[in-house]
Subunit: 94 residues, 2 copies
Amino acid sequence: MSELNKLQKDFFNTLNQIQEEAVSIAFGNYKEGDDIEDLLYDVTYNTIYSIMELIDGYVKDSLELDIIDRKNKESLRTGIELHDTCASFVKYEK
Amino acid sequence: MSELNKLQKDFFNTLNQIQEEAVSIAFGNYKEGDDIEDLLYDVTYNTIYSIMELIDGYVKDSLELDIIDRKNKESLRTGIELHDTCASFVKYEK
């Protein structure tokens, strides 16, 4: 693996934090007998939502990112916030 | 919500597919008595890895994306593949 620059280190460390937090919250709320499928939707919803918040710039001050189309450089964020929009496409329960 | 363009629709529909697939695989492998924390790490690992693959361009042919720094337009993918690198920062078990 090539040496990571500061931006890359910040990004991947934040992905790590997002995973730890999502798992910790879901595990903390889990009670024996809870529906496992609902649990899996809930933890993946929170993970995806947090990654979209990260790209939108709401998770870490040092990271102001954008997702673009490689061909025409158009931003995927044009007219929308990724984290708001993703909430209509992913589920927090089955 | 503003009307989404084709790129945005493809992206969010693929996020939905990534979630459905990650949940389906994890739920299919789950057996009563399995460690819940390991299950949560596993499903979030697969979700994060798949989103990085999506941005790297390996999930959907119509989506060739990049993550850039908004300020200097530098690509986060410089010298690395996001999905390869993220595997060193997120865990598939506790």
